[in-house]
C-alpha cells in the first residue's frame, strides 16, 4: 500500500533522513518508533507532501503510484489521511464543522465514512458537536483529529504520536478505537516514541534511530524481548 524507499529528506541543508526504507501492506498496522528528534515527524510530513522538509532522494509510492513531489492536497485526495503530531484541529471551528470540512465521499462502494459512523466510533464527539475545537480536552481533540481524517475516506492513516500528552485512561479509550479501525481493515502507520500503545496494536514495528535510518525492524514480541534494542534505540 505505502512503500517508502531510500528516502532522504532535509530541512534546509540539515540532512535528517538518510535512506529510510519502510512499507505498510494493505490492512496492516505498522509502528514507527524512535526517540524524540530522530526524524519520525519528518518522515510523516514527507509522505504527506508537506514542506518543509524537502525530499532530496528516494521514492514514495502509494497503491503503486509514485506520490513524492505531489502537492499535499493531491496526496490527501488519493487516500492518505493525516493525523498530525499536536493534532492541529481547526480551533475556531466547531467539532461538526471540523468534520464537515474534511468530508469527502468514498471513491468506490457505499460503506464509506460518514458523520454518523464517526460519531459511532467516537460518541464523545457527538456529545460535543457544537463546541469549538479549541475548547476540547486533549483526548477529545485527538479523537477529532482522527475523526476528521476518517471523514476524507482514506485508504490509510498516518498518525503522528496520538498518545502525546494524554492521560493513561484516555489513552486506553483511544487505543480501543484504533483497534476497532484495525479490525475494519484500515491500514495505519502509527508513529510513537515508545512501545506502549504500539505493542498490542501493531503488526510490525520499525525503529528510526541515529543517522536518520531504520535501525531495527520486526514484530512487537521480538522487540519486547530485545532489551538491548529497547535500551539503545528507545532509551528504556
Amino acid at each position: 500500500m505505502l512503500k517508502i524507499a531510500d528516502v532522504h529528506a532535509n530541512y534546509g541543508t540539515a540532512s535528517i533522513l538518510r535512506g529510510v526504507d519502510l512499507d505498510v501492506a494493505s490492512g496492516e498496522v505498522v509502528g514507527l518508533l524512535g526517540r524524540n528528534g530522530m526524524g519520525k515527524t519528518t518522515l510523516v510530513r514527507t509522505c504527506a507532501g508537506l514542506a518543509p522538509p524537502r525530499l532530496v532522494q528516494g521514492e514514495i509510492t502509494f497503491d503503486g503510484q509514485p506520490i513524492h513531489g505531489l502537492p499535499s492536497y493531491q496526496i490527501g485526495a488519493q487516500g492518505i489521511g493525516l493525523v498530525p503530531q499536536g493534532r492541529h484541529v481547526f480551533g475556531s471551528l466547531t467539532v461538526l464543522e471540523n468534520l464537515q470540512v474534511a468530508a469527502r465521499a468514498a471513491k468506490d462502494g457505499d460503506d464509506g465514512w460518514t458523520l454518523d459512523r464517526v460519531y459511532g466510533l467516537f460518541p464523545r464527539l457527538k456529545d460535543r458537536f457544537n463546541s469549538r475545537a479549541r475548547n476540547l480536552s486533549g483526548g477529545e481533540q485527538q479523537m477529532l483529529a482522527i475523526g476528521r481524517a476518517l471523514m476524507t475516506n482514506p485508504k490509510m492513516l498516518l498518525m503522528d504520536e496520538p498518545s502525546e500528552g494524554l492521560a493513561p485512561i484516555v489513552l486506553g479509550v483511544i487505543r480501543q478505537q484504533l483497534q476497532e479501525l484495525k479490525t475494519q481493515g484500515l491500514s495505519i502507520l502509527l508513529v510513537e516514541q515508545s512501545l506502549g500503545m504500539a505493542e498490542r496494536l501493531c503488526d510490525r514495528l520499525y525503529i528510526l534511530g541515529e543517522g536518520g535510518v531504520i535501525v531495527w525492524e520486526g514484530v512487537p514480541a521480538d522487540l519486547n524481548a530485545d532489551e538491548r534494542a529497547k535500551r539503545v534505540h528507545l532509551g528504556v
Binding site: 504527506a48 507532501g49 508537506l50 502537492p71 499535499s72 492536497y73 493531491q74 496526496i75 490527501g76 485526495a77 488519493q78 493525516l82 498530525p84 492541529h88 481547526f90 480551533g91 475556531s92 471551528l93 464543522e97 471540523n98 464537515q100 470540512v101 474534511a102 469527502r104 476528521r148 481524517a149 476524507t152
Partner: protein, 286 residues
Amino acid sequence: MTGQTFLFQLLNGLSFAALLFFLASGFTLIFGLMRIVNLAHGGFYLVGGYVGLTVATATGNFWLGLLAAPLAIAAIGLFTERVLLRRIRGQELPEVLLTVGIAFVFADMSLEIWGGDPRSVPIPGFLRGGLDIGFMVYPRYRFFVIGCAVLVGVALFLAHSKTRIGAIVRAGVDDREMVSALGININKIFTGVFIVGALLAGVAGLIGGGLLSLVPGADTEILLYSLAVVIIGGLGSLPGAVVGSLIVGLADAFGRALLPDLSYFTLFAPMALILVVRPRGLLGRQ
C-alpha cells in the same frame, strides 16, 4: 450640537462606514487567510470606480456600471493572485512590495486614462435628491449605500459562517497546511477569496464614486481609512470589519463636524488608544 445635526452626522458616519465596509471586509478576509496585506486594495477601489464610471456614462446606465466595476476588478484580482502573487507565496516582504507596485501602476495608468480632474458617477434618477424621514431630509443615495452594505454584510456573514466553503476558509485561517492535507486545494480557496475581496473593492469604487469623487489620491486615502478599520477591528476578522468600519466612519463624521482642523487626529487617536489596550484589534485573535 442640535439633535438634528447629530442625526445628520450620524447618518454621514454610517454611510461612510458602509463604504469602508466594502473595502475592509475583502481586505481582512484576504489577510486572514493568505496573510497578505494587499496595499493594492485602494487601487482596486479607484480603478473599479473609473471602469464603472466609464461604463455607466457610455451606456447611460448606472446598474451596468455597477456590474462592470466588480467584474473588471475581479478579473484584475484573478490575474494578480494567480500570475503575480502565487510566485512569491509566503514571502512577506516581496508580497507587500508587489502590492505596492501594483498600486503605483494603477495610480499612474488611471491618471493617464481618466485624467486628474475629480469625476463622479452619475447616479440614477430615483436615488437623487433627498428622502424626507419626517424630521429631516437626507440624501437618498446615502441610504442606498447603507442598504447595499447591510445586504453584502449579511450575505458575507452567511457564506462565511454557514456554508462549507466558508468553513474551509475559516479552517484555512486556523491552519492552511492541515486544510491541504485533507485533500483540499487551498490555492483555489486563496484565489476565490482574493477575487471576492477584489470584487468588493470594485463595487466600493463605483458606489464611492457617487458618494465622494474619483480623483488621483482617492486610492491612497481610502486605503488609509481601510487600514485603520482593520487595525481597529482586528486583522482577519469579519465582525471586526463591521465594528471597525462603524468606529472609523462615525469618528470621521463627528470629528469633521466638531473638530474640523483635527479630523485625522480624531480618526487615528482612537486607533492608537485601541492598539494600546488590544494590540490585535477589538475582535482580532489575542
